[in-house]
Symmetry: C2
Subunit: 119 residues, 2 copies
DNA sequence: CCAGTTCTCAACCGCTTGGTTGATAACGTA
DNA sequence: TACGTTATCAACCAAGCGGTTGAGAACTGG
């Protein structure tokens, strides 16, 4: 079993599974109901649901059998936090770069030692 | 080749590739620099970079050879938009459910026809 | 109890993946 | 020019994935 974040991203890397998640935002559903719109077998959808479950994206009613599949939207946060963290780091770097460029413009004759990355 | 969203999620489903992305938020780097911290071969990292590139997460300097790998943080938005969309739909559903429950409490004797989902 | 429905498990298949090694292309430099 | 460095390409391998079919478990209802 791999780390939670990898499982999450991997789970959503399949269009059918993303579609299932989308569908579950309309409300809980049984595996049969979930499988109905697709041409693939119920077993295939059952497997997909299992993947979503192991990723924590989905839970099931009390008795596993004939029970509803429920979306656990909170785990989305795990991903958004990861993404936002690095998006912000990337943006911060651009800002830093801008600042350095501005500085270079300001003191072209200053011949200060060039700063290395962040140091 | 699969759809862009699938490629994005799949690209980030690997811990090594997420690590590469994280590293690139510190600034551009050559394949060799990226590969240095890992025990795997340079070829393996080169493959990872290729996957990131095809997902649009990364671009390369002019000459493919010996040039820098650059993070394209904007494509993160594709994912966050997808996630946010369905997180909000899920939340909206909870709110709707709350409203229905409150309504049932208010008019226990009202015997209004139950609303079906959103209709 | 028996029958039908719903779902999962198991085995299998073709394709993709992450890794390897080896060869080779492209560049910088003594 | 010849050499070393850097990166990619190619072939291969084991493992995993998405799909199938077939069997069976678990619950529902006559």
């Amino acid at each position: 079993m791999s780390d939670p974040l990898s499982q999450l991203f991997a789970a959503l890397a399949d269009p059918t599974r993303r579609d299932l998640v989308a569908r579950l935002t309309d409300g809980d559903a049984t595996v049969g109901q979930l499988a109905a719109p697709y041409r693939v077998s119920v077993q295939a959808i059952s497997k997909h649901v299992k993947v979503l479950e192991q990723a924590g994206l989905v839970s099931r009613g009390a008795q596993g059998h004939r029970s509803s599949v429920h979306l656990e939207a909170e785990v989305f946060d795990l991903m958004t936090k990861w993404i936002e963290r690095y998006r912000q780091r990337a943006e911060a770097r651009y800002k830093r770069l801008d600042a350095v460029l501005a500085e270079m413009n300001d003191e072209e004759a200053g011949h200060r030692p060039a700063r290395e990355e962040t140091a």
